[in-house]
C-alpha cells in the first residue's frame, strides 16, 4: 500500500483535488481503514459546510430519472416483450413455491394490475402464510417485496369483508379493505413505511395475522 493520504484526506471532500488525486484517494481508502475513517470525518465537516449554501430545489424530473435508473424497466426488458411472459414466470415461481391457488387469482387480476405484477415478477419477493385467529379464521397469504416497496395480501374464502391493518415502526396504518373477487379477496399496497406485521379483521375482529421479515 502507498503511504497514507495526509492532507488530501481533508481536501478530497471539498472537491478541489484533480481527477488523478481523487482516484488515488478512492483507491487508497478502499484498502486503508485509518485513512477511510479520516476521510469520513472530513466528509462530515464538508457536509456541514453545505449547510450555508443557498438552497436550490431540483425539478421533479430528477426524481423520476433516478427511479428509472434504479428500478427495472416495466415491460421493456429484452427478451421479454410480452406481459404474458411475465405472468407465466410469476405463475411458475408461485407454483414452485406451492402457491397454486394464488396463481389463479394473479392471472385473473393480471389485466387490471399488470404494471404491479410486472414489478413483482422483476423483484425478489418473500411470502408468508398468515396465522389463523379467532373461531372463524380466514386462510390468507402475503407476498411482499424484499425491499418492502409493495405488499400483496390474498385471502381464500373471505367469508365477509376483510380489512387490513399494518404495524410499522411509527404505529398502525389502516390499509383499507380487501377487494373480493368471488372466492378470494385481495389487496395490493405500496406502503410508505416498512410493514412489520399485518392483521386481517372481519367485522372488527382479528381473523389472521402475520409477521413480515426482510
Amino acid at each position: 500500500m502507498t503511504e497514507h493520504l495526509g492532507e488530501n484526506a481533508e481536501l478530497y471532500p471539498l472537491g478541489i483535488l484533480d481527477d488523478d488525486a481523487v482516484r488515488d484517494v478512492e483507491r487508497h481508502i478502499a484498502l486503508c481503514d485509518a485513512c477511510a475513517e479520516r476521510v469520513a470525518q472530513a466528509q462530515r465537516a464538508a457536509a456541514s459546510l453545505a449547510a450555508a449554501l443557498p438552497a436550490a430545489s431540483p425539478s421533479p424530473a430528477l426524481e423520476r430519472r433516478l427511479r428509472d435508473s434504479v428500478r427495472p424497466p416495466l415491460g421493456a426488458a429484452k427478451g421479454h416483450p410480452s406481459i404474458f411472459r411475465f405472468a407465466l414466470a410469476a405463475a411458475v415461481a408461485l407454483i414452485f413455491l406451492g402457491l397454486g391457488w394464488q396463481t389463479l387469482v394473479l392471472q385473473q387480476r393480471l389485466k387490471a394490475e399488470d404494471i404491479a405484477f410486472v414489478t413483482m415478477v422483476h423483484s425478489h419477493f418473500n411470502h408468508v402464510s398468515m396465522s389463523p385467529e379467532s373461531a372463524n379464521p380466514v386462510a390468507a397469504k402475503i407476498l411482499y417485496a424484499r425491499d418492502g416497496s409493495w405488499i400483496y395480501i390474498i385471502a381464500d374464502k373471505p367469508g365477509g369483508s376483510l380489512h387490513a391493518i399494518a404495524e410499522t415502526p411509527t404505529g398502525s396504518i389502516d390499509l383499507g379493505g380487501l377487494t373480493s373477487t368471488g372466492e378470494t379477496a385481495s389487496l395490493l399496497v405500496h406502503p410508505r413505511e416498512r410493514i412489520r406485521s399485518m392483521v386481517l379483521q372481519r367485522a372488527g375482529q382479528n381473523v389472521a395475522s402475520a409477521r413480515l421479515t426482510y
Binding site: 471532500p13 472537491g15 478541489i16 459546510l49 430545489s57 434504479v70
Partner: protein, 179 residues
C-alpha cells in the same frame, strides 16, 4: 444497522430513493453551487447517486455518514464534470458565492445548524478560514488559492487541512452539547 443505510448498501432501489427524498435539496444545492446550469447540475446529482448506489461496497457507516458521503460524491462529480468540459474557470466560477455567511439567500438546512457552522468558521484563524472559504464557497482549487494569496501550495493545503480538522472537532463538540 439503520434501515436506510442497510437498503442503500444492499443496493435496494428504496435505499437510493429514501436518501434522495431526505436530502435532494442538499444534493442539488451542492451541485448547483458548482454548476450554473440547472439541467447539468441535475445530471451531476443523478450520475453521482446512481454510480455510488451501484457500488455501495465503498461505503460503511451510519445515516449521517451516508449523507456526508453522498454530498462528497455529488460535489466531486460536479467538479469532475466541469474539468471534463474544460469549464472550471471564468464562466462557471462567476457564480461562486464567496461570502456565504452574509448571504441573504435561505440556507439549505435549518438556521440553527447554519448558525453553528458560522460560529465554528468564525473561530478559525483568519488564514485558515480564508483558505477554506475560498476552497468550498469560492470553488477554487488549492493551486488557484495559492496563486491568489501568493502563498506556497503546501502551506495552503496545510491551512485547509487544519481548518477542516478544527471544524470537525468544533462541530462534533457542539453536537455533543446540543444532544
Amino acid at each position: 444497522m439503520d434501515e436506510l443505510v442497510e437498503a442503500f448498501v444492499a443496493r435496494r432501489p428504496s435505499g437510493l430513493e429514501q436518501a434522495y427524498a431526505l436530502w435532494s435539496r442538499l444534493f442539488f444545492s451542492v451541485a448547483r453551487h458548482a454548476i450554473a446550469d440547472s439541467d447539468r447540475a441535475e445530471d451531476c446529482v443523478h450520475d453521482a447517486l446512481v454510480r455510488v448506489w451501484r457500488s455501495p461496497n465503498r461505503f460503511s457507516g451510519n445515516r449521517e455518514m451516508l449523507k456526508a458521503y453522498l454530498v462528497t460524491c455529488v460535489r466531486n462529480e460536479s467538479f469532475t464534470t466541469l474539468r471534463r468540459e474544460g469549464r472550471r474557470d471564468a464562466r462557471e466560477l462567476k457564480t461562486a458565492r464567496l461570502a456565504p455567511v452574509t448571504s441573504v439567500d435561505p440556507p439549505v438546512v435549518d438556521p440553527v445548524e447554519t448558525q453553528r457552522l458560522q460560529a465554528a468558521l468564525g473561530r478559525l484563524p483568519d488564514e485558515q478560514r480564508m483558505a477554506l472559504t475560498l476552497a468550498y464557497y469560492g470553488n477554487k482549487t488549492h493551486v488557484e488559492i495559492a496563486q491568489e494569496l501568493n502563498v506556497p501550495l503546501g502551506t495552503i493545503k496545510s491551512r485547509i487541512s487544519m481548518a477542516m480538522r478544527k471544524l470537525q472537532t468544533d462541530l462534533a463538540s457542539a453536537e455533543g452539547t446540543r444532544s
